[in-house]
Every structure is written in structure tokens, then in C-alpha cells.
Symmetry: C2
Subunit: 226 residues, 2 copies
Amino acid sequence: MLPTASCPSHQTTSPRAPQPLPPAHSLSGPFEMVGAAMNFGRNMEIYGESEPADYVYKVVSGAVRAYRTLHDGRRQIAAFYLPGDTFGLEVDSTHVCSAEAITDSIILVVKRRAIVSQANRDPKIAQQMWTLAGQELQRFQSHMLLLVKNAQERIATFLLEMADRIATSDEVHLPMSRQDIADYLGLTMETISRTLTQLENEEAIALPTSRHVVLRNRTALNSLNA
Amino acid sequence: MLPTASCPSHQTTSPRAPQPLPPAHSLSGPFEMVGAAMNFGRNMEIYGESEPADYVYKVVSGAVRAYRTLHDGRRQIAAFYLPGDTFGLEVDSTHVCSAEAITDSIILVVKRRAIVSQANRDPKIAQQMWTLAGQELQRFQSHMLLLVKNAQERIATFLLEMADRIATSDEVHLPMSRQDIADYLGLTMETISRTLTQLENEEAIALPTSRHVVLRNRTALNSLNA
DNA sequence: CGACCATTTGATATGGATCAAGCGATGTGG
DNA sequence: CCACATCGCTTGATCCATATCAAATGGTCG
């Protein structure tokens, strides 16, 4: 599916179609991005693996998962993107992952060409593109390291990462399901659930509700962070 | 340990010290790199994690592993670099991984600044830097996907990758030990060994010697490649 | 030849997967 | 407003792939 005129490619696998919002620009962050703000409903695809990467995206609100699947359906989530994060900027001209909105999300969409040409004029923009690529590389490297740890360690690492990125102090509101976490950490939903209750019993965390995690003992979590 | 005058940083954890060779230039590949060709003995460190990334490296002969370790010693090899491969080009100014020579290797070493300034003058060079970064990203993504597969699948994927990169037809001479493979695939040495003999029994491969693998049935391997 | 190191093979243990059931919120229609 | 379906999550019982521990084999080099 190729993108038409001014709208990025996406499949409507979900009830609601993406809703164009009035043009907007990001206030801060890597690029002075000016583009269309679009609304993606929960579980809606933003782009698919091996589609042309003609657009770059920035999360305004909501959350996004980028993933690849093996042909038997196993899914590996490579990254979660949260408000302020830029994603979909591929070096090659093709997307390596698929991306979906985890919750209803507002996403700023910019033509890749616009950024590239801007970078050609302004070395500062080029610099920001490198910074982004570097962040991505570092994230993937850390994630590879995570995938050799045991379940407790993976989850501790995950919670600390999320706390770092979302946290209002030690309160973390997870936008994603247990299954998403499982596919991110290379475990099963059941193991995620069991390990979280285990951490709760050890008083490292509290779980007022299933998606609301309170870090009670960062020291304990950090020692699991290996 | 900071680099002195004209020599890159490295620790002599191994008997032999790196031997400067006469200056050389790469015949082909990403950069028209002109730099010092250096000799690194087996197991010698080329650079360490969190050291300043002032140099970029290219394998002329031999093989290199890039890895990170958890503080209890578990090691994750992020990548193997083979003749023709460029490595150590970090986006940030610090190395994320350590790098060691797997076998005696000749490595071309170039000042990072030289490449960056060259890239500023020649957009073609800048393009090549992006290509490199992209390759690295894609490799890491594929590697993350690999780490959710089972042992047979991981090893099949590994063998096909190596065949792709080294192979004289279907003959693969592995430069690395079983332990290196294990740390690359997130398995143990014993599992590597067992799975290889299993693949041999299934006549997917032959093992004339432990480091010499013959791909007898690519179809079978590909079907494991998921 | 003998020491050393890498690899293979065997026996057993175990962490996490799988299969299956129960539970608590949320929402919908009668 | 309540009965009921649905969905996401938790918990339990069992299984299995891979790890672990241990010993044997084989290849290499002084």
C-alpha cells in the first residue's frame, strides 16, 4: 500500500480510521517538526514492515510499539515509543519494523524528505538525526543485553526503564498490556504476571492496579538490573 | 587508558602487543580509509566499553567480536566483524561495546575526526556513514529477533548468516569458538555443540572438523530460519 | 610424549512455557 | 438496574527445552 498525496501509509486493521488533525509543530525535541498531527486509534497500524519509509513520526500523546514477527506469529517488540519520542526514521528507505498505536495516540507526521533536505541546509539538524540514530542503536544494544537475563532481571530492567521515561516520581502508569510486555522482554504473559506478583511480595513494587506500578524499593530493583 | 599520539587505545590483556604495520588503504568498501594497519593478536582487546570512540576500524583479515558483559560475567556478543567490515563508528563519542580480536587480525585504524571532516566536505562519505549506521541497526534488529527463537532456529540462522558473509560456496570456516557462538546466540556452549551434531545427524550440515561446517541442505536450514 | 585447551557427550536439574481454570473489571442489552 | 458476555489478568498444575555439572575425547603445541 503506497501513500497517497499528503497522507502516510497505514492500514486500517482497526475500527476507526486515523483522523487528520490541524497541522501542528513540536514545541521541543530533536526536530523542529512541522507536520500533520494525526489520531491513531488503539491497535491501529501506523506503518508496516518493509513498507517505504517516507515519513517520520513523533509521539505527541499515547504510546506506540514497533515490532517484527516470525512467520509462525511469534512477535518481538523492538521498542516502545512514548510522548516526545521520534520513530520511523530509517536509514534505508524501507521500514524494518511495523508500528502500531498501543492506545489512542496523537502522532505528528512529517515527510522524511523534508527533514533530509532541511538537514542538508542545516548541519544542526543533521547532528540531531545522528543523535536519534545513536539513541536507537544504544537502545537496541541494551535490549539485546536484556534478552540474556532471567525473568526477574528483565522485568526489573523494564520497570526501571519505564520509570525513567514516564515516571511521575515512582508511579508508573503502563500503557501496554502484559502481552506487549511479554513480547518486548521475550517471555510469556504468564511469566510477566507471576514475576510482578513475586516482586510485589518481596515489596520491591506495589500494584494498586495491574497497569499502575509503584516502585517501592529501587535499590532492590537496581540490584536485579545486573 | 587514553590513546597516545598516533595509536588507538587498547589494553594488552594478551601476550603480544598490537604491531603497527606500514600505512595502508582499503581497496574497496564504505570509506576510502587511509590509516594505520595494525596487528592484533588472538583475544587482544581493540577497545573497551565506555572508552572514548576516537577511532574507526576496518577488518582487513581475521575476525572481531563486539560484546557487553553483565557484572556477574555473563557476556552478550552483539556482533562479529569479518574482513571488509567496518566497526567502532559510534554516534556518541563513547564505545558502547568492547571489541576483541578473535584470531590474529590485521585491522585498519582511522581517526574518527578524519572521517567526520571528510564527510563534511564530501556528501558521498556522509551517505556511506549513514549506510553503515543503517546496517548496524538492521543487524541488531535481526539479532533481537533471533534471540526469541529456539536453539535449532538460532543456530540455523547463525550458520546461514555466516555462510552469507564468509562462504566459499557452502563451506564455512568459523573463526570463533563454541563459547563465542554461545554468547552470540544467548545459549550455552553445550547446547551449541549438541545442536550442531543434531543438525549433522539430520544431514542438514556436515562437520569435517569442529570449525569447518558444510551446508548440506540449505532448504532444511532455511525452514528453521523462521 | 604429555600438557593443555576446545569440543563432545552424558546425567540430572530447573526456569519458564504451556495448558487450563478462575477472577475482577468493564460494558451491553434486556 | 441487574444478568451476562467479554477482556485482561492472575493463579495453578504439569511439561519440556535448555542449563548445569561432570566426565570423556580429540586435537595442538612445546
